[in-house]
């Protein structure tokens, strides 16, 4: 790192805002995609928009690549550092700046943890709807970058539907305030374009987010099946019958075993081959009506039991179990590869079978826990990253699963993003022209491609547009 640049950055951030020495940078070498590693040259932890912008101006002058990082819980390597690059972390930007109850929005700094926002507005009868499984740790800024989903996004939509405005620092260090337009955007919808851009266009430092009214009645139901197949089929039945819960999740037996062995002890029955986890919400009469539709449908599909969580404490436990399933799988092996692919819902059963077969053929252990309502599969493959040969089999299985999902009319990612993990797969889905068009859009913001290079859009496509 150039000493002049380092001095400049230190002047802006002070010692507490820099992570410089090697032994302190090492924990930043990966995010949730733990096998992909690169030591960052330097980690910057600015406290606000101004500090971020001043740092990014210096980095622009020095042509240094930048990767933004929230809590490092992403699963596609979106926050994996790049060679000779600097990491900008938002972990010291944790202030909730404004809560507007009447207009139902909150303005927050990018490093606010997802669940902390919901806690802050709980007393007002409001919540922030997108609820990724990592919501107790992940940041809202990271959610915007990845357009994160979550179980309840089946009803409420993913992050992009909840972002009303952004303050963005561009790759050149300019502050772009897009938080004024809270209704329909004037001109191009830049907020919509930025959301889900995986750190390629700049760093969002302040977010204006929609708050949702807490439903008067919420019920959590479990339908227990002997077979995973039956649970999958049941999902389409529910939607066809217009019994639309706010969340439709499926957990298989291996997942249940791991969750029940953990501190979460959620209370999932170990005798079930698969559990359909459903949440009903609305006015009392609506919830009761949905429950009436539910019962005969799940019975007809072979559920041997349908039960309702007795109280809020049990509901909380069941959801904590669902959301901690990824961590709980750490009991099975040191590492876990969480695939993320989307298929048309009516093909859920076939694809779940196929992913299982793909993993078995490669001698891999797979557990399934997924957002069934959205057709969003998450085959969880256990492995040990120290075993290079096993890791190669895992990645090969991941590719095969994605190809199977694409062949069935699905797509590459439901919520984890493309990042580093699936950048190669972009060429399976998009033509060279498609990718070149994406590059031109990116270069309008970042002509040097310094923001999160090597993620989301294959660099080769960018090279081609330039020549």
């Amino acid at each position: 790192m150039d000493p002049g640049l380092l001095r400049g950055l230190r002047e802006i951030l002070g010692e507490a805002g820099l992570v410089e020495r090697r032994n302190q940078r090492v924990p930043y070498e990966c995010d949730g995609l733990a096998f992909a590693r690169q030591l960052p040259e330097l980690v910057l932890l600015p406290r606000n928009t101004d500090e971020t912008a001043r740092c990014m101006r210096l980095l622009d002058e020095a042509h240094v690549p930048i990767v933004a990082r929230g809590a490092g819980t992403g699963l596609s390597g979106g926050a994996t550092p790049v060679e000779h690059g600097v990491l900008i972390g938002t972990s010291r930007m944790r202030a909730i700046l404004e809560i507007d109850e009447r207009n139902r929005f909150a303005r927050v700094q990018a490093g606010v943890v997802n669940v902390d926002l919901s806690h802050a507005v709980e007393q007002l009868g409001l919540f922030y709807a997108p609820d990724p499984s990592s919501q107790k740790a992940c940041t809202l800024g990271g959610n915007v970058a990845e357009n994160s989903g979550g179980p309840h996004c089946f009803r409420h939509g993913t992050t992009t539907r909840h972002v009303l405005g952004l303050v963005i620092v561009t790759p050149q260090g300019e502050v772009l305030d897009l938080s004024k337009a809270r209704a329909e955007p004037e001109g191009l919808d830049l907020v919509g374009f930025f959301t889900g851009s995986e750190g390629m266009l700049g760093v969002a430092t302040e977010l204006t987010l929609r708050l949702t009214q807490t439903p008067p009645v919420v019920e959590t139901w479990l339908a227990l099946f002997r077979e995973l197949d039956e649970a999958c089929e049941c999902v389409s039945d529910l939607i066809r019958a217009r019994a639309e819960p706010s969340a439709i999740e499926i957990l298989d037996q291996l997942t249940i075993e791991a969750v029940e062995a953990s501190v979460l002890r959620a209370g999932y029955p170990k005798e079930a081959g698969a559990v359909l986890l459903l949440e009903l919400e609305g006015r009392e009469s609506e919830v009761a009506a949905q429950a009436r539709i539910l019962e005969p449908l799940v019975r007809a599909r072979g559920a041997f039991e349908l039960r309702r969580a007795r109280d809020p404490a049990e509901r909380t436990r069941l959801w904590a179990g669902r959301k901690g399933a990824y961590g709980a799988m750490g009991r099975v092996a040191p590492d876990l590869y969480v695939c993320d692919a989307v298929v048309p819902r009516r093909k859920l059963r076939e694809l779940v079978r196929e992913t299982t077969a793909i993993c078995e053929a490669r001698g891999l252990k797979v557990a399934n826990v997924f957002h069934a309502g959205d057709g969003n599969l998450h085959p969880n493959i256990s492995y040990d990253r120290r075993d290079k040969e096993e890791l190669a089999r895992v990645l090969d299985a991941g590719d095969a699963i994605l190809k199977a999902c694409l062949a069935a009319g699905g797509t590459l990612s439901g919520e984890h993003g493309i990042g580093l993990e699936k950048i190669g797969a972009m060429e399976w889905l998009f033509t060279r022209e498609d990718l070149a068009a994406m590059c031109r859009a990116r270069e309008a913001w970042d002509p040097e491609c310094r923001m999160n290079p090597g993620k989301l859009i294959p660099m080769r496509a960018c090279m081609e547009t330039r020549t």
Binding site: V19, P27, Y28, A71, G111, Y326, G330, D335
Partner: protein
């Protein structure tokens, strides 16, 4: 010594890097730095074991910066034994002598002299009263328990009470209250000067040989006190930190070591005093003696602050609340973030004074918001920390040990 061997490598592999621990970690929330988080520290440990990094001063600093509050263990879906991992690493660092000379000297005095001898500790406490009165609680009192406190009314059981090192030097009144409440609940309470310091502070700081020596003393002392059938008495602790350590004592010894089994047996008979009192018949006996009084009413509303080593290390959350619910004419209000660390963490508040104050500031804010007039805890470190904080902030709040409150309510 190969620095790589200081890590309990197998345990470090339990971490799957999900990050669900991050937001619970006091030092991560304070600094926003990944190496100061549980996941970051495990990453460093594993990197050291795999030869990627050196056990240098930066590494030692991150390990020492952890409060060992173990909040991360309460939320870890993967079941990482973070406390054990950290104690193992610190023991290795102590052996490598990576710390500066003045730190090593202070540790030698603290762990080798003060906490090994009641006379030396007593002298140090007396000096502290004179030279550092601000750090001492208002009602500091030295008192040692009689070897026998008979049960009041019908004797239903007998227990051995751990007096502890800090408790008897600074919170003698708390020990007296604990013994009185136990006696009123039908327990005959035994105490012995042979059982002095449990060694938890040694173990937390990586002084493993000192911890083992004290563990052996504690095991022998406790085995000497038996019931009518010759079985060692249950050991009751009123200090969350000591209780947590005693419940995991076997971790100090290799499995082949005969002391391992004896330590495990001691762990199996160790209880926090709230666990014992929340059981029958103790609970009913205690409830029958509860009397409303103006003195008690003045303390209301009260707030319970879970000591980390009670809720996170021992998983005891329900019992203290159940006992507080018995108090007549007293309302209990919830303290937001009651499972967050207050920044005391044994000697950490001395070695990291400014960070400790910053953590306490958040807790004081929650206390103000709760409107409580009495803050209840059950660990001497937390007690001192709250006491100092309340005084510094000028709050009209009393800080009491759970046993003191129960004693007051059952006094006739």
């Amino acid at each position: 010594m190969d620095a790589r061997t200081i890590i309990d490598y197998a345990k470090s592999l339990d971490c799957v890097h999900c990050g669900l621990c991050l937001n619970t970690c006091p030092t991560y929330r304070l600094t926003g730095r990944e190496p100061s988080s549980p996941r970051g520290r495990i990453h460093l440990m594993r990197s050291l074991a795999e030869g990627e990094i050196q056990a240098d001063a930066d590494f030692a600093h991150e390990m020492d910066f952890c409060l060992l509050c173990r909040h991360c263990e309460s939320v870890c879906p993967s079941g990482v034994k973070f406390g054990a991992l950290m104690e193992h690493t610190r023991a290795g660092l102590a052996a490598l002598e990576k710390r500066p000379l003045h730190v090593r000297l202070a540790r030698a005095i603290g762990f080798g002299v003060l906490l090994r001898d009641r006379g030396a500790l007593s002298l140090a406490a007396a000096l502290a009263r004179v030279f550092a009165p601000a750090r001492m609680p208002l009602r500091a009192e030295r008192a040692y328990q009689p070897t026998l406190t008979p049960a009041e009314g019908e004797r239903t059981s007998a227990v051995l009470m751990l007096e502890g090192c800090v408790m008897s030097e600074i919170f003698g009144g708390v020990n007296r209250a604990t013994a009185a409440v136990l006696a009123r609940a039908g327990c005959e309470v035994r105490a012995t000067p042979q059982l002095f310091c449990c060694g938890s502070l040694h173990a937390h700081s990586g002084e493993s040989s000192g911890a083992r020596a004290l563990a052996r003393e504690a095991i022998e002392a406790s085995e000497a006190l038996c019931d009518e059938r010759g079985a060692p008495l249950p050991l009751v602790s009123n200090s969350a930190g000591c209780g947590a350590h005693l419940k995991e004592l076997a971790a100090l010894f290799e499995e082949a070591d005969p002391w391992h089994a004896r330590a495990a047996a001691l762990s199996a008979r160790t209880l926090d005093f709230s666990q014992l009192l929340a059981r029958e018949p103790q609970r009913s006996l205690l409830a029958a003696r509860m009397r409303a009084s103006s003195e008690l009413a003045e303390l209301s509303p009260i707030a319970w602050d879970d000591p980390c080593h009670l809720c996170h290390a021992q998983g005891v959350r329900r019992e203290p609340r159940a006992l507080l619910a018995l108090l007549p004419g007293v309302t209990r209000v919830e303290l937001a973030g009651s499972e967050d660390c207050c920044g005391s963490a044994g000697a950490w508040s001395l070695t990291h004074a400014s960070e400790s104050s910053a953590l306490l500031e958040g807790k004081l804010e929650a206390l103000r918001a709760s409107g409580a007039r009495t803050l209840v805890t059950s660990n001497p470190g937390c007690h001192m920390q709250w006491d100092a904080g309340v005084r510094r902030a000028g709050l009209d709040v009393r800080v009491l040990h759970l046993a003191e409150l129960l004693e007051l309510a059952t006094r006739n």
